[in-house]
Amino acid sequence: MRRVPAVVLFAIGALTCVGLDLAYDGLVSWDRGSKFWLHILVVCAINVLGATSLNVVNGMAGQFSIGHAGFVGIGAYLGGAIVSNLALALKIPVAALKDNLSLGQSFLLLPVALVVVGLVCAAIGFVVGLPSLRLRGDYLAIVTLGFSEIVRLTVLGISADSATNPLTRAIASLGGSLGYRGPKVGEDYLGVPSVAGPFWTVGIAALAVFLALRLKRSGFGRALRAVREDEIAAAAVGVDPAKYKVTAFVLAAAGAGVAGALLAVQRDGPGIVGPANMKFDKSFEVITMVILGGSGSVSGAAIGAVLYTVIFYASEEALHQLAQAVPAFGSVDAAALRMTLFATALIVVMLVRTQGLFGERELFEKKADDGTPKPPSPSSDDATGTAKEALAS
């Protein structure tokens, strides 16, 4: 079978994403009601990116990080700040910023922002990954949680009044509990522009899935999985656990950062980046996606993310409809309901299918032999029967 060259695949993918992007605008102007569902597509894509990146560190390398939201949050603030300041510098009219920017304009703003965010988060991922060299399991998990909480509380804790030096002033400009609303122009905040439509979000998510699959199948991915299974054994075959664990953190952090940046500047986005992006709930969400789909499986993480996102919005919409029909439902807290729903789903998964939907397998991949007994072959009684002859040659 001849394989389609990567360049062709890439071109088809890029064109599809451009098509999606234009279709988004077209559909929304034709029927405003479609915006709800189209927006879910964008969020799905961002979550796919978040989940596939977490899967590298949690699923493949087996280093349990529960601080993914910390990287997402840093990416969101940094991406939001770069894009809005760049828009200001490029003199894109303020009025236009309140609306969605065009695909053409997005090319002026996003590439720089995403590359910077990716690099910065990779560097932070390196630092956060260092404790993995000495700690494992729950201890490491607590360090990652500590990291995301430190980032969140730093943003929350420094207000404009308490800012005395350039560093604290920069942090204070992120808006604390009110959230970041772009640079201040006169009395008004510019807002964070909505630039990332399906072209960027779906495109980057697809690219991430593609790269993660390549990674998993490469020697690098196999080494990561070896480290996850047994560090001493991995070291004994020449896989340096330290190198692979830290690299997994770096890759995951870069992916999370880019996901955060896209979240901040998504089309029809909120125009504001809030500290809630970094709360533990958000880390928990991504962990749920990965575990539902099957820890270690790239397609599992992606499908887990899509399922989670669709159920997330569908349950919200269902509750909304229900509340209109039966007023008593109006007092139900959608967020709490969702948390209960997903926590229950996780418990069921743990009880019924610990490995998630896919286990470590990929979509369309054959299941590994489960080791059920086969008729013994003549040689298996004497395992080393032929060994001497084989080796003496």
Binding site: R222, R225, E229, A233, A235, A236, D240, A368, A383, L391
Partner: protein, 255 residues
């Protein structure tokens, strides 16, 4: 096992003639915090030899092997392998120079298939032909593994897992194979098979240092042995001498 294929030959050990020491450990001392796990041991393994290192639990056997592949830092002493000092290089380089460790306790990769486990044994090898040929050799050595290539390592029986661990180490095409208690927790019949395989590996020219608590089994296959007791070499000699030694008989052979 050694063929004319240019990439197949194990790392160069020309300058160590048969019978000359391939590995020489001098006054090796290892500490874990305040504990002296090895109190300055000396031992050597000549090229082509099978040497046993015996001793009860906690004697320092695992520590010795881990130190040899640089997974544990020595506090003092020298480790010379094929004329080169190992304390100045890292684990990766030690493996590249032809030392393979079969870790204690069936340390396989349970969720990876048998094939993936074996291929990881050749992690530092780049040449596809070499890897394929090594795989073929391992399948010849352990036909049971060949039948279970697509099966996950964790689904194998204990004995098969030990075969997998040894097979994986052999994928690195070692000159010196270090085995850490290959018979641990394995049915006697299978343990015997595993030692037959070790004999076959040695017959093919690989030098072997095997750590065991099963003294009788180890000394049957080895030509020489060392007895390690709380971090010190208590006895050394030919297998025959050790099997006849009253102290060894009482403490390690239950006679």
């Amino acid at each position: 096992m050694r063929t004319r294929h240019p990439h197949r030959a194990p790392p160069d050990v020309r300058f160590s003639e048969p019978g000359s020491p391939l590995l020489a450990v001098e006054n090796l001392e290892v500490r874990y915090g305040g504990i002296r796990a090895l109190k300055g041991i000396s031992l050597h393994v000549c090229r082509g030899e099978v040497v046993a290192l015996i001793g009860s639990n906690g004697a320092g056997k695992t520590t010795t092997l881990r130190t040899l592949v640089r997974l544990v830092q020595p506090a003092a002493g020298t480790l010379r392998y094929a004329g080169e000092e190992l304390t100045t290089i890292g684990t990766e380089q030690v493996i590249e120079r032809g030392v393979s460790l079969v870790p204690e306790g069936r340390a396989i990769f349970p969720n990876l298939t048998v094939r993936e486990n074996l291929e990881l044994g050749a992690f530092l090898h780049r040449d596809k032909t070499t890897i394929a040929e090594s795989l073929h050799d391992v399948e010849q050595l352990f036909p049971r593994l060949g039948e279970r290539m697509a099966q996950e390592g964790g689904t194998l029986s204990g004995g098969e897992q030990q075969m997998l661990a040894i097979g994986r180490a052999m994928m690195g095409r070692p000159s010196l194979l270090l085995l850490d208690e290959p018979s641990l927790g394995i049915a006697p019949k299978l343990a015997r098979q595993i030692f037959e395989a070790i004999r076959a590996i040695a017959a093919a020219g690989v030098t072997v240092l095997v750590v065991e608590q099963n003294t009788r089994l180890a000394l049957e296959v080895a030509s020489r042995g060392y007895v390690l007791r709380t971090g010190e070499i208590a006895r050394e000699g030919s297998s025959k001498e050790l099997l006849a030694d009253p102290m060894v008989r009482e403490a390690y052979l239950g006679a």
